[in-house]
Amino acid sequence: MGSTIFLSAVVLIGIGLILGAAIGVVYKFFEVPVDPRVELLLELLPGVNCGGCGRAGCADFARALIGGEAAPAKCPVASQEVVAQLAQVLGVEIGRAAKQVAVILCGGDLTHAKGQMLYNGVDDCISASQVAGGPKGCRYGCLGMGSCARACPFEAIGIVNGLAVVHNEYCVGCGKCVDVCPRGLVKLVPVDAKVHIYCKSPEKAPAKMKVCDIPCIGCRKCVKAADEGQFTVNGFLVEVNYGDYPRPDVIEKAKCPKNCLQTCRGHEEFEYGKSIGESA
């Protein structure tokens, strides 16, 4: 019995020594140095692989961080603390702007957009816009085929009555929807900017009225109601200056005649038919 134990021990120790030596030799000659921080970063990162940072997934982003090609704040999903931790690992500044959310600057749902045509084809915005400019009369408005909704990794965009609407509580501001919109209606704005002008058509007011019930007609009532510089007038279109955005009370003051000046919440309710703005 004793000799069995002894022999087993000898055999195991011998095999162990040989294997250990072999591994040692291989590591000695072939090892590729890996920055241990990559693993650390990967653990910190959300792992959603949404690509919001512009990289092919979190692992790629981690490598970019190590290489100094990206800033931690580029990750749109990570919370402030996580970004701080990332920065700590890397030993760099955070360099983050305020949190952003997406907003879709069109109010032309099926009730409000005019000149709609029958459309038969692929349910996709790019496809629809390629067929005679899309089913809606306005050639700058939301096509409502939901390309942005499908692109959103967080299901933060819904199609309500033929119009894409962002649900702010889910939106992390990754910006994936911005690129897919063939009409360029999606804009990343500071989360605190609550007031938007839901129109992006640069056409003249009469042309806009022909195709939509609620266009921005460039009446500048909102411009007058707000502080200087909070709105910028761009031809026939007034735009919110998101660098210095107006407070929600501007809606009351401005009395937008077309109801295209809305808070995102109000906009959503308006589209759902709860007529919050119609009383104005």
Partner: protein, 446 residues
């Protein structure tokens, strides 16, 4: 019909629409449209740079007077379709569904010609002179693409071109304009072909025609000897008239992926273009009118009309007697590759080969169902792609896979969607993939 005594060639694969609707307008001779009150000439008609407008609102113009001059090499001139006053430069519904800039001309009813460039003796002048004249007269490819003709005639010097093919295939169902042109203006077609051949400096010039136009083939054969132009018959198969397929059918050469006809020494021009060239060279007449088929089951009297460029579609439809019943769709071009229109105010352009109305029943809204992999699209694809797997990839947003499977080679002829028993909008999906891929390629370049 007696058998034709010519060689009949074809490309591989493709589809063959059984009822091609050509009988609606096949036997109706070309008629010239009466003068209208107003013409709206879209400025950006050609592929490439839109020409620069040289007239102002209120200005009086004569018929054939320059309205817009080429703004570069790949650009074609525009001329006034009639004499009258420029009303203004306005936005009108364009053929792609989005508003387009157009010159509106109020006709004075006199239809007076302005000063035209002198006739040329095409046999003695140089090819360069001919090309200059072709550009001066604003001639573009009249088969559909509206590519400025003089550009096609000037391939890069390192590419030796030896064959000029005049495309008389007219493989699109319903359209008969080219057919009538070949039948009624045989001589001009052949003359134009010979001039084009001379301008490009090639020895072989052939007119290629699908054999369902036997009368046109015979008419051309009877005169072709005088102009040293060959005539080739082609099997009735869609898309026989697509550039790459046409070249393969006629010469057996394959235009390489992403290449141009000049890569295999060929130039393809449309029959209508040949006629326009003949007019431009022998009479100095610019391209201001074209033969267009107005057809479709709902049309009261389908026919072929010589329409001035800038004629609104609604006026053209009046010529054809209006419609018998409400149509479901208005298409500019043929049913396979034409564009559905949202407005009847779209004007006729240089490349409008047909104005087609389809019945509501014929285009009833259909629902696409999943692919059953029957392979009809594969058998129909003239570019030998795999449309069905491509469409599945695109449906799953896998554009990279689609790119690797050569989606960019698609010529969008529509054979796959035509043949698909599941009614899948394959062509539309492919167009979307192309747009997405181009976007991402552009991104990468940045």
């Amino acid at each position: 019909m007696k058998p034709l005594k010519i060689k009949i060639v074809s490309f591989k694969k493709g589809v063959h629409p059984r009822d091609d609707g050509k009988s609606l307008s096949r036997s109706s001779a070309i008629r010239t449209a009466p003068l209208l009150e107003r013409y709206q000439v879209i400025v950006g008609q050609n592929i490439g740079l839109p020409p620069r407008v040289v007239v102002k609102a209120g200005e009086e113009v004569k018929k054939g007077q320059l309205l817009a001059e080429p703004s570069g090499f790949v650009s074609a001139a525009l001329h006034s379709p009639t004499s009258g006053k420029i009303e203004g430069i306005i936005d009108i519904p364009g053929p792609m569904g989005i508003p387009a800039e157009a010159i509106s001309i109020l006709a004075d009813g006199k239809d007076e010609w302005g000063e035209l460039p002198p006739p040329l003796d095409w046999q003695t002048v140089s090819g360069e002179t001919l090309k200059a004249r072709i550009q001066e007269c604003g001639i573009v490819g009249m088969g559909g693409a509206a590519f400025p003709s003089h550009v096609k005639l000037s391939p890069p010097p390192e590419k030796k071109v030896d064959c000029m093919i005049i495309n008389g295939a007219e493989c699109e169902p319903y359209l008969t304009a080219d057919h009538r042109v070949m039948l009624e203006e045989t001589e001009k077609v052949l003359l134009g072909a010979a001039i084009l051949g001379k301008a490009a400096g090639v020895k072989n010039t052939v007119v290629a025609i699908e054999v369902n136009k036997a009368d046109a083939i015979e008419a051309l054969l009877a005169r072709s000897g005088e102009y040293r132009v060959g005539v080739v018959g082609m099997k009735v198969q869609y898309p026989q008239g697509a550039e790459k397929q046409l070249i393969y059918a006629v010469t057996g050469r394959k235009v390489p992926t992403g290449g141009l006809p000049a890569d295999v020494g060929c130039i393809v021009q449309n029959v209508g273009t040949a006629v326009a060239v003949a007019d431009a060279v022998t009479g100095g007449v610019p391209l201001i009118e074209r033969v267009t088929t107005i057809t479709g089951e709902p049309v009261v009297t389908p026919g072929n009309w010589r329409l001035k460029v800038g004629t609104p579609v609604v006026e053209a439809l009046k010529l054809a007697g209006g419609v018998k019943r409400d149509p479901g769709k208005l298409i500019l071009g043929g049913p396979m590759m034409g564009f559905a229109q949202r407005s009847t105010d779209v004007p006729v352009m240089k490349n409008t080969s047909g104005i087609l109305l389809l019945d509501k029943a014929a285009i009833s809204q259909y629902q696409a169902s999943p692919c059953i992999r029957c392979g009809r699209c594969v058998d129909g694809c003239a570019m030998q792609l795999l449309p069905s797997p491509l469409s599945c990839m695109i449906e799953a947003d896998r554009f990279q896979d689609a790119y690797e499977n050569n989606v960019m080679d698609c010529i969008e002829c529509g054979s796959c969607s035509f043949a698909c028993p599941a009614r899948r909008p394959i062509v539309q999906q492919i167009r979307r993939a192309k747009a997405e891929i181009r976007n991402s390629l552009n991104h990468k370049k940045k």
